[in-house]
Structure formats: C-alpha cells, structure tokens
C-alpha cells in the first residue's frame, strides 16, 4: 500500500471523526485534526512502527483574520524511516487561542511553540516554558497577527533616551 494511503487509513482507524479533512495537493499530504486530539495524534504518529514520524520540523500558525475559527496551527513532521514529511493542521478559536502543547512528544517543538506564541499569541497549555523568543518580554502585542500594523505601535518598544 502506498505510504499516504497507509497514513490516512491508520489515522482514520484510530481517531475516526477527529480526522476532519485530508488534502493531497501537489504531493503534499495535509491532515486536519480536531484540536483536543492533537497530542494523541502526535503521539500516535511518532510511535507507530510503520510511520515513526520522529522529528518535528516546524510549528507555525496562520491568521485568517475574519474566519470564525481564526487561527490554524500547522505542524510539519518528518519520518526518517519513510523519508516523508507530513503536515498536520488544527483550527482554533480566537477566544481563547489555546491548545495543548506537543513539546512533551517532540522536544524540538518547545521553541517552535514559543515562537508561535510570540508572533501569534497562541497559548500552548502544558508547555514547560512559554516565553517570547524574539520580542522583548513585556511587549504587549503579537506582530504577525493581521491586525498588527507593519510599522508597529509607536511607543510599544522602548528606546534609549536621545542624547
């Protein structure tokens, strides 16, 4: 059986309704799952003997601005065994933008989730150390959100006094 079919079949068998959508665009398989199942799906993908997606390459988000479920969180995971990259997505609400952290499954997700928190304000519960990565602590906004102006908000970042 082809790998992609195997992934979809295994996920559907184990998670049933929680697999919301499967798209295969230009050979990129992406699977949308329910938010509350994300950690279980992650654990399954990593530990299943045929799949072994042991490496998390990226965690990021998309801000759809006007959509009802405003954010999509995107994970890219890689399997050395199959030499294959899979995309997992999950849609979350704006208030509050919360979901479970997968950093207990993939350690590398730790910093990716911090970055996503920094840029989009998405709160990963059970994350060991959810601090900002790029912006200074104390900064109040999340710059990659669509409602943040490109030139920033005047006075939101401190500068040394002029001499």
């Amino acid at each position: 059986m082809e790998l992609k079919e195997l992934i979809v079949e295994k996920l559907k068998k184990n998670f049933g309704e929680s697999v919301e959508e499967v798209t295969d665009f230009r050979d990129d398989l992406s699977i949308t799952v329910s938010t509350n199942k994300i950690v279980d799906v992650a654990k399954f993908l990593k530990e299943d003997d045929d799949l072994l997606f042991v490496m998390c390459k990226d965690v990021t988000a998309i801000d759809w601005a006007k959509r009802k479920k405003r954010f999509t969180v995107v994970y890219h995971v890689y399997s050395f065994k199959n030499n294959y990259t899979l995309r997992i997505k999950t849609n979350i609400d704006e208030n509050p933008p919360k979901l479970d952290s997968v950093s207990s499954i993939w350690l590398s997700a730790n910093w990716y989730e911090r970055e996503t928190y920094d840029m989009y304000g998405i709160i990963f519960t059970n994350h060991p150390d959810l601090r900002r990565t790029y912006m200074p602590e104390g900064f109040q906004y999340h710059p990659l959100r669509k409602d943040f102006p490109v030139l920033g908000i005047p006075g939101s970042l401190p500068l040394p006094e002029k001499i």
Binding site: Y134, E137, P149, V150, L151, P158, L159, P160, E161, K162
Partner: protein, 172 residues
Amino acid sequence: MGLEAKLQQDGFITTTIDSIIAWARKSSVWPMPMGISCCAIEMIAAADPKYDLARFGSEVMRFTPRQCDLMIVAGTVTYKMAQVVRRIYDQMPEPKWVIAMGACTSSGGMYRSYNVVQGIDQFLPVDVYTAGCPPRPENLINAVMTIQKKISKTRARDFQDIPMPKPETVNN
C-alpha cells in the same frame, strides 16, 4: 624625504597645542567595530590590505569600547539591539564620534518594519551617515576622512572633563 630631511640642525616648529593635539587625535582614530549585520563585512574589507584603512590611522579596531573614539555602527539595529548599542556607546571615553554605516542604520533601510529602529539618530548623536546597502569600503573610508576633517577643527577646550554616564540597565 619628509619634513625632517630638510633640517640642517636641531629643528623646531611653532604651532598651537590645539592644532598639534587635533592632528594627533585625527591621525589615530581607533574605531569600535559595532558590526551587527551584513555591512560589517564591508567594514572588514575596508580594513583589509586592498583598501587599507591603516593609511588613515584607523586600522586598530578595538573590541572593547574603553579604547575607542569612533563607533562605526554597521548593520541593522533592532529595538532590542538598540539598548546594547547605546550601552556600548556610553562606555566609550570622551571625545567620541559615530558613523552610521549603511541604509539600515541611517534610516531603517529596507526594513520598514516594527522591529527595526528607523534611524539610529533616534538615540545616538551621529556625525556622519554613509549611503549604500552596503556602502563600498571607499565610502566608509570617505566617512572616516570626513570625521578626520571634523576632528581637525576641534580645540582642546571643546572637551572638558565629561564624566562617563552610568549605563542604563534594561531588561529585555
């Protein structure tokens, strides 16, 4: 072939303290290489044998601010980095000068964005701006020569004892 070749006996010249000190000062400007990003590569090139900043007495790049009189800010200054740049500037002894090298430091350059300071003159007294992205080494040398011209016009009494400011502490 220099001046001393003309001398038949013990020579002396008359000058003023101001001009001899200004001459000495301008001939040994020690830069603080504040190389933050890509412009730093051209700054290094300017110090290399091909362009040879040493011809103007500025080859001694010191990596401690306490031995420098000229800060070359070469690279994109973000708001987070601005605190560091200013802190290093504060540690340089007076008198001191600043070159804003490249488009980024002069005006934010191509980074018209929330995280980059749109011109370091918002928090530093800049003496010379250098155009280019990055400026060619000749351009930087020209900036150093402009600084030299500026220094040669100074007088000793322009620099009274200025106490060093206490660097601000900022938690980022």
